[in-house]
Symmetry: C2
Subunit: 373 residues, 2 copies
């Protein structure tokens, strides 16, 4: 049996959304779900217990970073990523593709794989589909991703097509290299840029390889939101109903809601942790830059409708002070709040699916948050 399975619970009558549950060797999580990112085997600023308190059912970690530091062999020796970082719930590792291709001039692609220089010390490395699987096997996440090419935006049709076809060949090589399918499930990644027919081609090629789950890559890379939504409209309906669907690199409230509406089950992004460290908070009334001078004497919580540790115990004035004077607790609190905000958002999304009113929820949320409806 596959390590990871999808349990369908209910479809939303108002949208294409679905309520479900993903089962893994380290427990189950409800979908649609947002996955906090623990790039270097730690969700920046958070402890595992705090992640559980905010309700995170699964986290993501980055193969590229862990391969470079501390090295996948070391993590394997430690007993795998879960044990190394003291996290007993599900973990997903990406393939390093996104990071490697982001290196620009520092990398060179061939059919065999990618030669690149480390962003840390300039040392030379080579990643192939087989090598990535070796690394992901050593890390031991429940869900592992195929090595894909994430192309930049915009990209011409010819290159996009060539690239997606290579991504398919690499996906097959990943599948062939991955043996222990009962311990870890390997997902395929749909590419195809902003071309509807190429997205269809990518899905069709990947379906032949029969993965236990599918990701949609190459979106949220700079294109207008409407273009991303069109790609989802084309892609998601082609994916099998009995497998999880993962939209990669998406974490803003609107993208999460629009993804769910289109049938996405899982998403991840560094957004909540990254903007939190910069003193920006997501609230029910929109973004709040708690660093701003106007909050200096504001003794109300970040978001009076939020139930997180930061909002229950601290004022904007205190958190602003901590951020201004660079106290660690400041970024802990903004990170904590932002992650809890997104977990609460996904909980609300799931409830709205249950109640067949996700489109109403979307409109109410946007109205309050300040998005254009």
């Amino acid at each position: 049996m596959a390590a990871v399975t999808y349990e369908f619970i209910k479809a939303c009558k108002q949208t294409g959304a679905r309520l479900g549950r993903v089962h893994t060797p380290h427990g189950s999580f409800d979908t649609p779900a947002f996955m906090p990112v623990g790039t270097q085997a730690s969700v920046k600023g958070m402890s595992p217990e705090e992640l559980k308190e905010i309700g995170a059912g699964i986290i993501l970690s980055n193969t590229y970073h862990l391969y470079l530091r501390p090295g996948h062999e070391l993590v394997k020796e430690a007993g795998g990523l879960h044990k190394f970082m003291n996290w007993d719930r599900p973990v997903l590792t990406d393939s390093g593709g996104f990071q490697v291709f982001s290196l620009g001039d520092l990398r060179k692609i061939t059919e065999d794989g990618v030669t690149f220089r480390s962003h840390i010390d300039g040392s030379k490395h080579f990643l192939s589909p087989e090598k990535v699987i070796e690394i992901e096997n050593a890390l031991g996440a429940d869900i592992i991703m195929s090595f894909d090419e994430c192309i930049p935006y915009p990209a011409d049709r010819e290159y996009t097509k060539k690239s997606l076809e290579r991504t398919t060949r690499w996906a097959k090589r990943c599948k062939d290299a991955h043996k222990d399918t009962e311990r870890q499930s390997l997902f395929g990644i749909v590419q195809g840029g902003m071309y509807e027919d190429l997205r269809r081609q990518s899905v069709s090629e990947l379906l032949e390889l029969d993965f236990p789950g599918y990701a949609i890559g190459g979106l949220s890379v700079g294109e207008p939101a409407e273009e991303m939504y069109s790609m989802l409209d084309v892609t998601v309906p082609l994916l099998p109903y009995d497998k999880p669907r993962y939209l990669m690199g998406v974490g803003s409230p609107d993208y999460l809601i629009e993804g769910a509406i289109r049938g996405i089950d899982m998403s991840d992004c560094v957004l909540p942790t990254r903007i939190g460290r910069n003193g920006t908070c997501l609230t029910s009334r929109g973004k709040l830059i708690v660093r701003d001078a106007k909050y200096a004497k504001d003794f109300s919580p970040i978001d009076s409708e939020c139930d997180c540790y930061a909002c229950r115990n601290y004022s904007r004035a205190y958190i602003r002070h901590l951020i201004k004077v660079k106290e660690i607790l400041g970024v802990r609190l903004t990170t904590w709040h932002n992650l809890r905000f997104l977990q609460n958002l996904m909980k609300d999304v799931r409830q709205a699916i249950m109640d067949d009113r996700l489109m109403d929820f979307r409109n109410e949320f946007y109205e309050k948050f300040g998005y254009k409806v």
Copy 2:
């Protein structure tokens, strides 16, 4: 009645140490006690709940820093330091004297007070005994300190004498300025450098002002340990037995033990938090620099005899990785461990006093830790 009182419990038959309890408007704490330092209204890296978990009965915060940022008026408006930082146990604020006098060329002393330039933006400020009390009253700590001059080491006899006499005059002005003695207790600070007779003179002058507690300042400023111990040997016996005695700026295990042996009840230092952020841990077998390459594949805890959160859940290899890649959780864990180590040390010291074996405990501890006995 004074806000802060000292309850004597028991003297050690082997040393000059004493077991006691200090009562404040925000609860009581057992002595001898170590106070973690929350310079800017936060103990770096720690939440209030975590401080309680490690057993901190009281924390210290710095008047100089809070005066500059976010400003004492703002803290007052927030409801005081306890409420501002969400800490309901006792707090002690220093007087800013140590920080101001550390500014070197940036400050000028007169009988009236000290003019100085902020280390942050160079802005000009003036602190007098009256101003310091105004600030400390606004901050609202349970124990507040008189404005003193902390002279450098070494200092000549003439300057030391002039300075301590001014510190006495400033102590009197502080006492006159401090009105609400039922809410906050003002402590006097013994100075006198490394001169036994000047230490005696300082104590004698301060005793006439009858403070509810006394601190010993101007030690651990670069002098040899033996010199500090001699000053304690001269000073502590002159202090009243029914008032708490606070040795300022001391936090290494040997200084804490030697202080307790000589009858000290309270100490504070940034050492455990500062070295923790640099990847250095205090353990029962001495200091451990967890950043060191030799711990890269060491999957044992920082200290196998420690019961802290870090030692219960994480390996040296993981913590080293976190510190190397600058993950916040790394410094959280080393800080947590070091603070817990000192809280456990003080608990052991109190137990040893109870059992009349503090000198034996000292020798055993030094042997294991690697100090010369």
